[in-house]
Symmetry: C2
Subunit: 412 residues, 2 copies
């Protein structure tokens, strides 16, 4: 019933020329005693969102370094996914709690999915709360269970912790992106911090030449010879697309030719997202120098990559943020960045050093003007940013953190 | 309430080196007496699907040649779009008819959208049935109304014709892709045939070099040095993705290294599409030489273009088809094609001359083997196909057909 994901193969040696020789050596040292370790990742979806994206990159690297890796996606019908969506929202503070019927549905599908698990494993890596309940029904199939939490649990509706934490008592560890995401609750398994990472080899991050990038950007409307500001993110109030437009209008007072591109992904089954997209379009008010695009306009990974590679300045003007890996993606392309001082962004952007942190529309505009009018200085800052990402936010570093954890919990 | 779409600008002269000088001359001759003609296109959606795609290409070309063009998208809430979806399905034969409440909803939103129309026009171009009812409430704002039908009306649930045709009595014309799509009903406005067309200047069709294409294809998994079969289409029984996989298996018996890529777009609010996608993945059975991708994997227009440019053979193994413009897209890239003998495909593929028409899995496999084992002959066929598309299925030809129609109905 669970879906086994064919994640293809990937060679860690493709990272040879990208990350430091020291890290690669460390990886091989850590992996040697873990050779053949049977690992199964379980999550809720094969598409969309950061979890699947990370697993498509991480799982084949784990396998390439000698582990025996599976990835299974939960089976469920709408009744179940409605409940897991409520759990997802509640863990991030939504006030509505689960009723008894909903808890029964969660438990029924946890048992069903547990029953569908085949094989024996050394470590189960359970991604987020959706699959957390299956351990109760399948404890025997693995010696070690770790919970990888991809969301911010620092301000949850505690009803959800009260419901879920008793199911996780026997997990070996709970992994969080940042210390700030860890809930203050003694029932939690041992917390471990591992920031997420980007895949430098994926279509969205692979290197394009400036010429390739400018050609693709030009196909989507912007004039590649005039300055371009860019934000890549969902159309969502927390990403402040309206503030991005306001900032661009301020920048234009000083730099008349500047253009703005906003590229986001949207789900047609997300009415709130569609509505906020419409508000963003309305706020742009038909200005021909604003280009608003999404996956629904056939904008895919290569296009996003080209826009990031070509832009004069990349914004991530978030008001609230998960980790904000789009910042790492932009920095990895060596572009100057202006980003909100929230969530995981300050780990990636060291203000004035690897980019600029801002708290307001005016500040964002001012930093954009600085960058566009002094591209040489901006480019030096951006290159420091790229180096910071290379050292801290590429996939081999995340692989190392997992290998260390597997050793630490005695799974080797 | 209606949304006015900013469709940007496009220069017809970009087609100078693509289409024949005779066609460009004809366009300018036809457009001269229509200079300043006020045209408003109305349709149901700004994203996704062929109608919006054509309007993004056609509207700016109409404007560039001297017409004064608007494009408005209907306003509506779910209650309305549920009704228009029923109409869309019913016109293509779905047996469920509208009840009185649903008709009232359709009429209420028709009146509401009519009330939201501003300005005066010479011609309203109404795309498909969703906006067809607004003429009754806004007849005064334009001298001429034409109905552009993008779907096959040859086998409708006649309840829908009985309901809608009285609203279209005073339209000047009803435009269809093909003669075969015209319903046999005397109440229909004067039928006009205009096949659709592709935009050679769009990101999905612009020319890539073989090297660019092979690099992008390689990023998504296939080995660019081994032969590649490709189908680009929705995951839908009528496109026969399971048959494509079966055909590929037969081809592999003779050409062991052959790979298969299937690229489709999916809507997360389309449970049937998602289910059929899953069936397709299950039918592939984890074979590492099958690559199944969609917009949900960040595959956009450039990626599709690259796959079409690189593939050794492009399949469109449809069992039933609207017009099938993906065939024109593949032929425009000079690739050999194997396609089902249905819908608008035989207009594009002249069997043995510009590609191969097939009726079965076995036939499809056989033609693919022929193409892959004799690439020189296949390439000559494909180039004849490209020339056929250049002459018949590029956007300037569709622009000409509209200008002719506007003249014919006396709108000049």
């Amino acid at each position: 019933m669970l879906t086994s994901i064919n994640f293809g193969s990937r060679s860690l040696s493709d990272y040879n020329s990208i990350v430091s020789p020291g890290l690669l050596e460390e990886l091989h040292d850590l992996a040697a005693p873990l050779n053949g370790l049977r690992v199964n990742h379980i999550n809720a979806t094969a598409f969309g969102g950061g979890v699947a994206e990370i697993l498509y990159a991480l799982a084949p690297l784990m396998e390439d370094i000698g582990l025996d890796v599976d990835w299974n996606v939960l089976f469920g019908r709408d009744e179940y996914f409605n409940v897991t969506k409520a759990i997802h929202n509640g863990l991030q503070g939504d006030e509505r709690s689960l009723n008894d019927d909903e808890k029964k549905i969660y438990e029924r599908y946890s048992a069903l999915n547990a029953g569908g698990l085949k094989g024996e494993y050394d470590v189960m890596v359970i991604h987020d709360a959706q699959p957390a309940g299956i351990r109760e029904y399948a404890a025997d199939i693995a010696d070690h269970w770790v919970l990888r939490i991809h969301i911010d649990l620092s301000a949850p509706n505690t009803d959800y912790l009260n419901y879920l934490l008793p199911m996780t008592t026997d997990y070996d560890a709970a992994i969080f992106h940042m210390q700030e995401y860890v809930p203050d609750d003694p029932r939690l398994p041992k917390p471990v911090i591992m920031p997420p990472a980007i895949d430098a080899l994926a279509p969205k991050n692979i290197a394009f030449t400036p010429d390739e990038a400018r050609r693709i950007v030009g196909l989507f409307g912007p004039d590649p010879d005039r300055p371009l500001m860019l934000q890549v993110s969902r159309f969502d109030p927390w990403k402040d697309p309206l503030g991005v437009i306001d900032a661009w209008r301020l920048v234009r007072e000083q730099i008349p030719g500047v253009q703005l591109a906003m590229v986001g992904s949207m789900a047609t089954d997300d009415p709130e997202g569609m509505e906020f997209y419409r508000r963003t379009v309305a706020h742009a008010n038909g200005d021909p120098d604003i280009f608003i695009m999404s996956n629904l306009d056939n904008v895919g990974a290569i296009e996003v990559n080209a826009f990031q590679t070509h832009a004069d300045v990349v914004l991530q003007k978030s008001i609230r943020e998960g980790f904000g890996l789009t910042v790492s993606e932009a920095l990895w392309k060596g572009r100057p960045i202006v980003a909100g001082d929230v969530g995981g962004i300050p780990l990636q952007v060291i203000d004035g050093e690897t980019g600029y942190l801002v708290d307001s529309v005016e500040q964002a505009a001012e930093r954009c003007v600085t960058i566009i009018t002094d591209p040489v200085e901006a480019s030096q800052m951006a290159l420091r940013g790229k180096e910071h990402i290379r050292q801290n936010f590429l996939m081999p570093r995340l692989l190392r953190d997992y290998l260390k954890l597997f050793s630490d919990i005695g799974a080797g």
